[in-house]
């Protein structure tokens, strides 16, 4: 900046031009340039505004220097500001520069010039007086009143004399009554008010009063540290007292010691302990081992044990001082130390050894400890890919939860977590086995019973599921969802019996379900199914009445008869005609034009899980629904309503109908971009692989819209289309095709890495290694070597182990090199 800026003032053609330039330099924070320009301007014409501006530029420059830690330089520049501007500017800033240099007396002298006068800005007067009060008490100087002093200054000086005398008398140990007389001369709102409160608190025998007095001292005032030091010795919860004394500065702790009496051994020990703690874990460990005799032995040992994860190299010292660590505890220390370094492989290894040793140790606590460790490893595995479990291709979370459950089978939360994990992973066999085991082990727990119901229902063991539901209702009789579930399970069981042509057993199952129905909340599906079974079985004269009751409960007319038709289709073998009254009423419904409300209600029926799960039975009805909608493309549906309708249309593969709905929707509401999405879905026949490049770009742009990003349903709908995971034919196939491609790619990647290892490690070298260390000893050496190679660092150790054993087998001629 130097030369260029220095020449700038001389290039200004006029005074006004230079003034503009000076102002700009000031505004941009180029204070040095602004000072030069204003100096030149003042030489040409002594305008008061420029004098002020020059003073402001000096202040700005001084602050910039102070920000860089150049306090001496800042002080000199600030001195110019005062002489140039005349008025005193920001004296607190000057004082802070002087205090930072340790020039407290000089700071006090400066402060005393302004105390009680109008020479400084009003907002700076009070903080300046407060700072001057603290400076005066710390470094007293003779103070005298002058004849022309303003009243505020006179008041400040008399309070200063009283406070100083009280301060001195307190330190000299004079009687409280004498000091109180001096304190009475200090007004409460005086800058010496905090000093008055502090002295009173120190004199008071009543801790509550002392605390109240200290509340009047602002923690961020110059008297703040005093307040905190006295508070640290007032009665409080031990943890609070320890905390306060622990955070205290050296001077504050010294005051605490003085207040508590130097003869008391406690505070000194505490201070030494706190000092050692500030030195870090190693310093604290050394202090504790050396001072073990002065503290309770068990606590010293426990404190040292808990320091070891930060300083694992001190394990030997610990064992020398306190005896050997119990089985598992050494590995626990090393595991925690590895976790702190984020060395997950080592942490996993050590935790597993610790768990093993705890179990071997025997006893309930050992097993529970191992369970705790395995749960911890499951938590870690969920977050850290470095935790791999036993099988590099398996799920480490499920593995460790299983291990935990083996050690501690009574831990219900782990069992429930593992059930959830199996369900998410699609491990059906493990899921069902564990759900049953858990329900057996915890027969009175509703969460366990709910899992058992889900598991039994998923494998279509409806009777068993109903049995669990019955147990659940015995535990929790007013559980409304459980009652509904019970009815749904009995209906599902009745359907199974109907398909097996056992209408009598179906009728019995529905009669059982009747027990769980509440009079205030009759079930439409139960009535419909009772009607249908009665009609088909021919043993209930009231069957049709029941059926019509159920239809009425389901909303009557179109939604009611569609529901009845779906229930009938689900309960009868495929391609069997619907029951006569249902077929007749449905035909009547289909002759009417569909209304908006009916379309939405029926589309929701087709979204139900049991309907979606049995597409074979319900396919014809889906198609009928789609055909019925052919004349309804102009019905005004919102996008939220249309998603469910579109699903039903796609299941019926009526792509032209979907296109008509989407086109009509787009005409009606051009601002809704999802209509265009459905046009693309219709054109590509729900196969994202058929999209044109332009359509891909359109979908990309659509996904980037904030409205779509916020709309969870729309996002999920688009994702289903792109992933090909719709119910529509081709969707699952595409998913399978992609999954097999991913697997093939993964195999290729591993093969490449394996080949690169084979290039690095020659068969001769492997043979030599096997001869010197044996087959079992050679594998870990190879694993370590591979882990150090660039490709090996990211691979789990179990995979490296597998590769090492394969390399050994190849080198020994047990495996074909083409393998």
């Amino acid at each position: 900046m130097g030369k260029q800026n220095a020449s700038r003032p001389h290039s200004a053609s006029s005074i006004e031009g230079r003034a503009v330039e000076a102002e700009a330099a000031f505004r941009l924070g180029r204070f040095k340039d602004a000072i030069e320009l204003y100096k030149q301007l003042l030489k040409q014409e002594n305008r008061p505004f420029w004098r002020d501006a020059l003073a402001s530029a000096y202040v700005g420059r001084a602050k910039a220097l102070a920000a860089k830690g150049l306090f001496k330089e800042a002080e000199i520049v600030f001195g110019n500001a005062i002489s140039a501007g005349g008025a005193v500017r920001e004296p607190l800033f000057l004082l802070s520069c002087l205090i930072s240099q340790g020039q407290h007396q000089k700071a006090l002298a400066q402060a005393l010039r302004y105390v009680g006068t109008d020479a400084v800005e009003p907002e700076q007067r009070r903080p300046l007086s407060d700072l001057a009060a603290a400076l005066y008490l710390a470094h007293p100087v003779p103070l005298a009143r002058a004849s022309g002093d303003p009243p505020a200054r006179v008041e400040w000086i008399s309070a200063a004399h009283a406070a100083r005398a009280a301060w001195g008398d307190l330190a000299a140990g004079k009687p409280a009554s004498e000091i109180e007389t001096l304190l009475a001369a200090i007004p409460a709102r005086s800058p010496f008010g905090p000093a008055r409160l502090i002295v009173k608190a120190l004199l008071s025998d009543d801790p509550a009063k002392a605390r109240r007095l200290l509340e009047g001292v602002a923690a961020n005032s110059p008297f703040g540290p005093f307040r905190l030091a006295i508070e640290a010795v007032l009665p409080a919860e031990p943890a609070d007292r320890v905390d306060r004394l622990g955070r205290a500065s050296r001077a504050q702790r010294a005051l605490a010691l003085a207040c508590l009496g130097a003869s008391v051994s406690g505070p000194a020990a505490l201070m030494r302990l706190v000092e050692a703690e500030r030195g870090g874990p190693a310093a604290l460990f050394t202090f504790l081992t050396k001072q073990a005799a002065s503290f309770p032995a068990a606590d010293v040992r426990s404190a040292c044990l808990n320091l070891l994860p930060s300083i694992p190299d001190r394990i030997a010292v610990f064992e020398r001082s306190f005896g050997p660590l119990a089985a598992g505890w050494k590995d626990r220390v090393l595991a925690l130390a590895a976790e702190a370094k984020q060395d997950w492989r080592r942490a996993e290894e050590r935790w597993r050894i610790a768990a093993e040793l705890f179990v071997k140790d025997g006893g309930r606590e050992g097993r529970l400890s191992a369970g705790v460790i395995h749960r911890h490893l499951a938590d870690l595995a969920g977050k850290e890919p470095g935790i791999t479990g036993n099988d590099p291709f398996g799920d480490p979370v499920a593995f460790y939860l299983r291990e935990s459950l083996d050690c501690d089978p009574e831990h219900l939360a782990t069992a429930l977590r593992l059930i959830k994990r199996h369900r998410e992973n699609g491990d059906e066999k493990d899921w069902h086995a564990l759900a049953e085991e858990t329900a057996y082990r915890f027969p009175a727990d509703s969460a366990a019973l709910l899992e058992a119901i889900d598991s039994a229902a998923a494998r279509k063991a409806y009777k068993m599921a109903a049995g669990y539901a019955k147990k659940l209702l015995a535990v929790d009789p007013i559980n409304r969802p459980a009652r509904q579930r019970m009815i749904a399970l009995q209906i599902a069981h009745a359907r199974k019996q109907m398909r097996a042509k056992r209408a009598d057993l179906a009728w019995k199952a529905l009669a059982d379900a009747n027990e769980w129905e509440r009079a205030a909340a009759p079930s439409a599906d139960l009535r419909i199914n009772q009607g249908l079974v009665g009609l088909r079985g021919g043993f209930d004269p009231q069957a049709e009445t029941r059926l019509r009751e159920g239809v009425a409960l389901a909303g009557g007319e179109a939604p009611g008869w569609f529901r009845a038709a779906l229930q009938d289709a689900l309960a009868t073998p495929a391609r069997q005609p619907l029951a006569a009254p249902v077929a007749k009423e449905l035909a009547a419904v289909l002759r009417e034009a569909p209304s908006r409300a009916n379309i939405v209600a029926i589309a929701a029926l087709f979204s139900a899980d049991d309907v979606r799960a049995d597409s074979k039975a319900t396919g014809e009805l889906v198609w009928k629904f789609g055909a019925w909608l052919r004349g309804a493309a102009r019905v005004e549906l919102s996008m939220a309503e249309f998603h469910a309708v579109a699903d039903a249309i796609l299941r019926a593969q009526l792509f032209d109908l979907l296109r008509d709905f989407a086109a009509a929707g787009r005409r009606r509401d051009p601002g809704e971009r999802l209509w265009r999405f459905y046009e693309i879905v219709a054109r590509t026949q729900n196969d994202a692989d058929r999209m044109y490049q332009a359509e891909i770009l359109e979908i990309d742009a659509l996904c980037a819209l904030p409205a779509i990003e916020r709309d969870r349903h729309a996002r999920a709908r688009i994702d289903r289309y792109l992933d090909g995971s719709d119910d529509a034919p081709g969707g699952k196939r595409r998913l399978r095709r992609r999954a097999s491609l991913d697997e093939a790619e993964a195999v290729d990647v591993f093969a490449d890495i394996f080949r690169s290892f084979m290039e690095e490690i020659s068969p001769r070298e492997v043979n030599k290694l096997v001869k010197s260390r044996g087959r079992d000893g050679a594998a870990p050496v190879l694993v370590d070597r591979m882990a150090k190679l660039p490709q090996g660092g990211a691979l789990p150790r179990a995979i490296l182990d597998f590769m090492a054993k394969t390399i050994i087998a190849m080198a020994l001629g047990e495996l074909d090199p083409e393998f």
Partner: protein, 122 residues
């Protein structure tokens, strides 16, 4: 404030269910939730973390807690009756004032430069 549950409740790692419960209830009586909501939350969280045997084992095994160290410090605390036995010297009072003056000066300077203010005393 201490964060590990043993330190928060001021308990030994080897205590049982009953001691934990009675200590927690005593703390709730001393610091009721309506008067000391933050402290109550801390006590509640610590109690929840130690309520069962398994949770206590997890607290003992899975973290390098400072329970024992907190107990050592508490044991070193002076008896409260000792307070008021002596008065601070003038030099000590000056040292504390100098601390406060320097902290206040640093805060003003930082506030002036737009930087965040320094931490409060101690």
């Amino acid at each position: 404030m201490a964060t590990d549950p043993f330190s928060v409740l001021g308990l030994d790692e080897n205590v049982g269910d009953d001691e934990i419960k009675s200590r927690y209830l005593a703390l709730v009586r001393e610091f009721p939730p309506d008067l000391e909501p933050d402290r109550f939350q801390a006590h509640r969280a610590a109690y929840e973390a130690l309520r069962t045997e398994r949770e206590r084992l997890a607290a003992k095994l899975l973290s390098a807690h400072g329970g024992a160290l907190a107990r050592l410090k508490t044991a070193s605390l002076p008896p409260m009756e000792a307070r008021g036995a002596a008065r601070p010297s003038e030099a000590l009072m000056t040292a504390l004032l100098v601390d406060g003056i320097e902290q206040a000066a640093a805060r003003w300077r930082q506030a002036d430069s737009g930087a965040p203010p320094a931490e409060g005393a101690a």
